[in-house]
């Protein structure tokens, strides 16, 4: 895939652009490093602004949609259909007093929202959005793509720990302890879901994953898709898995003590997560920007992303919150097993297809015909497993465990 630097904004093309600009002004060779710096700054500026605006409209969309699901009206006063509501909210939050608790660990308390926002934004640089010309990501030559995403996502749990611990609040610490336990557990099924994609794509780079999907991977391995969707919903800690916040139990958990602009940044990170997750799912399972020719790739990407966002919203607005033991049980007893089984299945089918000569010309991915055969087998197996689990395992009721006082109950907090 030849890069087209002149027509799409990527790190390389911006570097070339700024190098040309510097030469034009007449600074000479010794200032060429400025081009790299300026390219980095412009990409950061672009991503931050686009994502913040997108998140603002997404919050409006989410509130309106959840209102529809729950038969109420939602925000409808500011602007047409209430579309200016997010701006009103942001203005309100900025003007509020920014309080920091007396006992709090102040530097850590201040850094926590940034540490939560930064990884979410960083994921966006490796997503190949698809342009009108070619399939490029902002950092298109990063050939660890998906590994970068998994690595960067795992920083979230530390940020939540920072927020909870620095607040010196029992509810906050409880929320972040639960959250860290949950996030660490769900990283494993998420990685397993990704691994099954990698078997078929044969590359870690996001652009290669997209180009290997001559048949969308959701059609080839539905089980991997389900595992990944469930795990990434938990990674975002949204409603079926929102033990981190749990308003009715913990008084909104790790962000109890936050107010003003810091609260706004925490919430920005939280509402940005569905957008980022939808982009990752689109790239991994829905063929990224691949589509039919009458629309450009970028529009296909946006459409698929929108569908995933809507499905995530549907999860959020219809399912009640699970208890923490149910959540951990779901991760380790169900998703972990399904993920491993899916990898085994896909690897077996891949090597069998290889035996029958199903490799495509690039020697790493399969031809569409074999992909469809594998897909048919996998759909049957997945539906069978879901039926078996619903009828046999699902009958067994979870018994509520006897509550025991947590060892964290009074730990580390000075009694006043």
């Amino acid at each position: 895939m030849a890069p087209t630097p002149a027509l799409f904004i990527s790190f390389e093309s911006l570097q070339i652009f700024f190098a040309g600009l510097i030469e034009l002004i007449g600074f000479g060779e010794s200032f060429k490093w400025l081009a790299t710096l300026l390219a980095g700054i412009s990409i950061s500026f672009l991503i931050i602004n686009v994502m913040v605006m997108a998140t603002a409209f997404y919050t409006w969309f989410e509130r309106r949609m959840i209102a529809r699901f729950q038969v109420r009206r939602g925000p409808n006063r500011n602007g047409p259909f209430g579309m200016l509501q997010p701006f009103a909210d942001v203005l309100k939050l900025i003007m509020k007093e920014d309080t920091i608790p007396d006992e709090a660990d102040k530097p850590v308390f201040t850094l926590a929202p940034i540490a939560l926002l930064a990884p979410t934004l960083m994921i966006m640089i490796v997503i190949p959005f698809g342009t009108f010309i070619d399939d490029q990501a902002f950092l298109s030559n990063l050939n660890i793509g998906i590994l970068f995403i998994v690595g960067v996502t795992s920083v979230n749990s530390i940020a939540i720990f920072m927020a909870g611990w620095a607040s010196r609040n029992k509810y906050a610490i409880l929320g972040s302890m639960r959250g860290a336990a949950m996030l660490i557990s769900y990283e494993i099924p998420m990685a397993l879901g990704i691994t099954s994609v990698l078997i078929l794509s044969g590359s870690l780079a996001m652009t290669e994953i997209v180009s290997s999907q001559s048949v969308w991977f959701i059609l080839v391995m539905p089980m991997g898709f389900f595992v990944f969707m469930a795990a990434s919903t938990a990674e975002m800690s949204r409603t079926p898995f929102d033990q981190i916040e749990a308003e009715s139990e913990l008084g909104s958990g790790y962000n109890t003590e936050y107010s003003g602009i810091k609260f706004a940044v925490l919430f920005l990170a939280e509402f940005m997560a569905p957008l980022v997750t939808a982009a990752v799912v689109t790239t991994l399972f829905l063929g990224g920007s691949r589509g039919f020719d009458f629309l450009p790739g970028g529009i296909w990407f946006a459409l698929k992303m929108f569908i995933i966002i809507f499905v995530l919203l549907w999860f959020r607005s219809t399912w009640p919150r699970l208890r923490i033991d149910q959540i951990m049980g779901f991760a380790w007893k169900t998703l972990f097993g399904l993920g491993l089984f899916n990898i085994f299945l896909v690897a077996l089918e891949f090597s069998l297809a290889d035996q029958f000569g199903g490799l495509a010309s690039d020697k790493v991915s399969l031809t569409p015909k074999y992909m469809l055969i594998i897909g048919a087998i996998n759909w049957i197996i997945t539906i069978a497993i879901i039926l078996i689990m619903a009828n046999v395992v699902g009958r067994k009721k979870y018994t509520r465990p006897e509550p025991t006082p947590s060892p964290l109950a009074n730990m580390g907090i000075k009694e006043s």
Binding site: A35, L139, L142, I144, L147, G151, S157, I158, M177, A191
Partner: protein, 182 residues
């Protein structure tokens, strides 16, 4: 493949990363607050991940992020939160010169052995290419380093790979045996 070939930019990034890494490594042992010292440990690990990227070892950088920053440091924080006197818990360390000298000699020795033994050009690049061809071959080598690594792990170094798995399994079983109700 590094992100840029501009020497000064690489130099700048190297110095920023290494200064951050060293300062936060010193902070890990010198700061009184155990929680903050764990956070500085995370900064150190992030800095090392950045250095890996500068060296063209992107896979190592990703694994460093996933395993050390994402998992092990969270476990360290979990363990730290269980201790008492968290805010003054880190005992003050004075610089111990003899230990430091022994450690430095050991590290330099290991460094010397590794740099002498390693095939830096990679097995894909043969000796009898001219400079331009070697440059092209090196670019291909870095781009293909992940499949190459996977192939090596499952062919030449499969014994070491499996031994590590057995070791981890033994550690997991040992942990289970320790916490099990008798």
């Amino acid at each position: 493949m590094t992100l840029t070939t501009e020497p000064f930019a690489i130099e700048l990034a190297f110095w920023i990363l290494s200064v951050c890494t060293v300062i936060s490594a010193i902070a890990v042992v010198q700061i009184q607050d155990l929680f903050r010292s764990a956070l500085f440990l995370i900064v150190t690990l992030l800095g090392v991940a950045g250095l890996f990227i500068l060296l063209g070892a992107e896979f190592l950088a990703g694994v460093q992020l996933m395993v050390y920053v994402g998992a092990i440091s969270v476990l360290i924080i979990f363990a730290i939160l269980m201790t008492r006197d968290l805010e003054e818990g880190n005992p003050s360390h004075s610089f111990r010169v003899p230990v430091a000298i022994v450690a430095i000699i050991f590290i330099l020795f290991a460094y010397y052995v590794i740099t002498q033994d390693t095939d830096w050009n990679g097995r894909l690049i043969s000796e009898n290419l001219d400079a331009e061809q070697q440059k092209v071959a090196a670019t291909v080598f870095f781009k293909e380093s992940i499949p190459y690594l996977a192939k090596m792990l499952l062919t030449d170094f499969v014994l070491a790979f499996e031994m590590v798995s057995v070791l981890l399994l033994a550690a997991a079983l040992g942990a289970l045996a320790l916490v099990r109700d008798r």
